[in-house]
Symmetry: D2
Subunit: 304 residues, 4 copies
């Protein structure tokens, strides 16, 4: 496996088309586009890494996987009254769908859906308490107390801030946001600004590959069927309107973020984190996708 | 004319289907649905009124006609780079169209368009100065210094507040709002909360029937071709997605508001203000429309 | 008037941007883009013309005005159960709106609406009888027995044929087309292929400027209020998603066709027909619009 | 396994809410809603069945799985220039998406996508030859020469016929259909009218559970990675706008048809066919879904 990672890393690190680094969050625009790391954690205890796998990056939308885990723990299946679980067929920040569906986001991984998750995680508390709770949870699943929020990124929202404020206000007009919009967005932006390395992220996602239990610590995070269902949502909705393409080409549950990271799950076997900041037109890491495709192919890791 | 108004008022005041008073602005929900007033001001100097024509009501979206007049005065035709002039084919608070058109509202009379007008009227000043300027303008065109903003209504936004905040933030994410969203909305909500009686409103709109000049005071408000063009926009866009129906049935430029008022223009002849708080499903006064239809028919006032 | 026509014709005939001749109907693609004619018929008996005003061209969508007149005569206001009367806010051949509105076209001037008119005009008869009836009607309102259908154009449908077959089949699946699709389209394509000169077209539309009566023959075509209402529809819906712009700039009821013709009505005064084959991006004659704008401005002909 | 099938069959056969039998294809409307069969074929050679598992039914959209297999064989990955592979987020017969995407259907399992597959399978031949080729292919993968098309169903199209004619004509106007529409639809309707029993259908789909090889006959149908990819498409797109829900609840690649059948694949293990004619609001068998959910749960068959 370590050899495979080296080969893939070597092949792709000089890939001339690296995509474009996200510019609408100013703090992310300065990231070096040549960064490239991969980490694999196996259920059996293996740990493999290559390149910039120990450097932290902004996980952005990958954090929605952890927020969803927490929100399902709070509400159970009644969560699905406030957010759907269908692929949206549209971009991550589309507002059109919300109008058709009366303020109910299509799934928890588009921005509007994740804003609803943030509203649920607030749960009557001040925003900083909710943020602290999310941070505790991510440290817990990653078994790493050093994980932190990059507050400079959280405050550097750019155009993204107004678009998400639009989504939140819009859903609030339908009654699907219960807290004040600025509090909800504070939770959302801080959650997205979580900074993890590939190695930390692979560890954090490992419970989804292992029936809900982190095999390193033995801690049960969720029941086995819930882990399966979160994986199902990652497969159908994890890459916005390119989810079908990723399922077709790679065949693994995964979630991307505009920071250039991708978390992929091989149920029963392993979790994989890749990071390369340049994005394709759907907002997922261009080189990261190629790396995952190559790994899945060589290891025959498709769920299908 | 006075006889005609009495007849129509008598016929319609007991009309059993009066529509429903708007409830999403709490302060408007308490208005007596039996209120009903009509005022007509002619270019030739006639002034006619019946029913509750001297009682003030919240003009709401009718104020967009005056805001448009002011914004055209500030920007001239370059206004049309920031807002379109096509009927929208959708509801007054739709956000779908904005996504398709990259943050450019379809016309100045849907909510998103009027929020752009408010941004233009701010023009670098604090919100209270812009509000004061709008108030001065409306007092000027109505030749009545007693006209005021109903601040209780301005503060009573309900669901409407969040929806409009969504529209403003959304357009800001496309760069089509230049001031802070709360300042823009302060202008917008205060402008909508202008309280005029039918008699005042008919006077205020009379310049549009008289080539841009208020015949009472002799003051030129706009050039003749601009008056014509504002009338054109009222005819094609004044009733949201029921504009075509109103043009077909009545054939006059007009603008409705959810306070139950309607301002209609008979180019070259007169301006008409009606008020009856119950609304049809498109958000226009139900009885008010019937009154206008009857008056236009009996007076042969269609522009066609 | 004749002098004015000469001036405008002279100014515009060398206008370097003439738009593009429609190519999706092969038979129209070969028309000389330099053709340019104008004809004006006044209610008072005046008849003026300039340029290629006596050369026939394919009226295409302008024919929908006559089809609407005939369909209203057959069904009266119950026509509006099968087609709306709102501006569509979308292109002439859009199918999206039909899905939202369950097979009811937004207005009779978009293609789907006109296909419903064709279905109504069939009325249980074979297509060739319906076509003959339409031809008789147009000859009658134009007081000219020489008017004919250009059958080469009717048979030269190109991409347009499939798109309109899609619209017709789609509405039939909702039950809003009662005859066989090929019969309905035969009527529609032949109606669109009517060939009139500017002079004939101005005469044919004159009843709409004169309260429903052709002043030349004295024949009453429709009641005065119906003439007004057809004019209202032309103003709000006559140029598809550029109707608002035309109302704003010119302020006259009018209907364009992809053959490059436009019929405009000055209620109470005159009817105008212009022809210049190059189209703007909305499918209306580019130079024709400029000519109408100039005429309306100089004659102060806006209805507003 | 046989015991499990009996238990599930017993539990569900008296389920009082059975959904509604499809009525828009007249020939299907007469099917007895109490019919209920299940068949399971395992890669290891097991064959299990219960209830009406030997009675044939109209497979309808399930046939798209076989058509896709054939079309990929003809065109390989260049197929994806003519049809997408993203979940559509809309109903099976929606035409809206086609307008946005210029005639390219979102995926091969919505109706428009399957009509493109039919056009590909025609490949210059007469419709009856293409139909015969499809029939040969299905007989081959099912290893059963008795399988036939129910021509009464093929001819009984009802509203469905006009809607699909609309889709085909619409795509043809964009150049994405190359043969005559009536020929394409003949192929499509006959393919949908294939009649298989649960037992035959489970056998026919078994190659998708076994890396592309039918284990009974040893025949290789497709390469292993293509089998995986077809499974991926079934998981993300197999149930139209309820695909995400099925992935979440059941976690298996599957394809439903309005005849009340569902084919589900357990990669590496088995294929399952269920049949119960009553449909839920998304057009999938209501009781069939419950049966699959129960089986997947008890056997821990989710791919996740």
């Amino acid at each position: 496996m370590q050899d495979l990672l080296h080969t893939i890393h070597l092949d792709l690190r000089r890939h001339h088309d690296r995509g474009d680094v996200a510019t609408y969050i100013p703090e992310l625009a300065g990231v070096d586009p040549r960064k490239f790391g991969i980490a694999v954690r196996t259920v059996a205890g293996g740990s493999f890494a290559v390149g910039d796998a120990d450097e932290t990056f902004s996980v952005q939308s990958i954090s929605k996987v952890f927020a969803l885990t927490m929100a399902l723990d709070k509400l159970g299946d009644s969560l699905w009254r406030r957010v759907g679980r269908e692929p949206s067929g549209s971009a991550f920040n589309s507002i059109v769908q919300l109008e058709h569906d009366h303020g109910i986001p299509r799934n928890p991984f588009i921005n509007a859906g994740a804003v609803v998750l943030a509203d649920i995680l607030l749960d009557g508390h001040p925003a900083d308490e909710a943020i602290a709770e999310i941070l505790r949870f991510v440290r817990f699943v990653a078994a790493d107390e050093s994980i932190a929020v990059d507050t400079a990124v959280a405050q550097s929202e750019g155009a993204t801030g107004h678009r998400n404020a639009a989504l939140a206000n819009y859903m609030k007009s339908f009654g699907n946001i219960s807290h004040a919009v600025d509090q909800v967005l504070a939770v959302y932006f801080n959650q997205c600004a979580l900074a993890l390395s590939c190695r930390q992220l692979a560890e954090a996602g490992l419970y989804l590959a292992n029936g809900g239990v982190n095999p390193t610590t033995g801690a049960r995070i969720v029941a086995p069927d819930r882990a399966r269902r979160i994986n199902a949502l990652m497969l159908t909705c994890g890459h916005y309107d390119a989810s079908g393409d990723f399922a077709y080409r790679v065949g693994l549950p995964s979630k991307s973020g505009v920071g250039g990271g991708i978390l992929a799950i091989v149920p029963g076997h392993a979790s994989i984190a890749v990071w390369s900041p340049g994005l394709n037109k759907y907002g997922s890491s261009h080189v990261g996708l190629l790396a995952l495709e190559e790994m899945a192919k060589r290891c025959e890791w498709s769920v299908f």
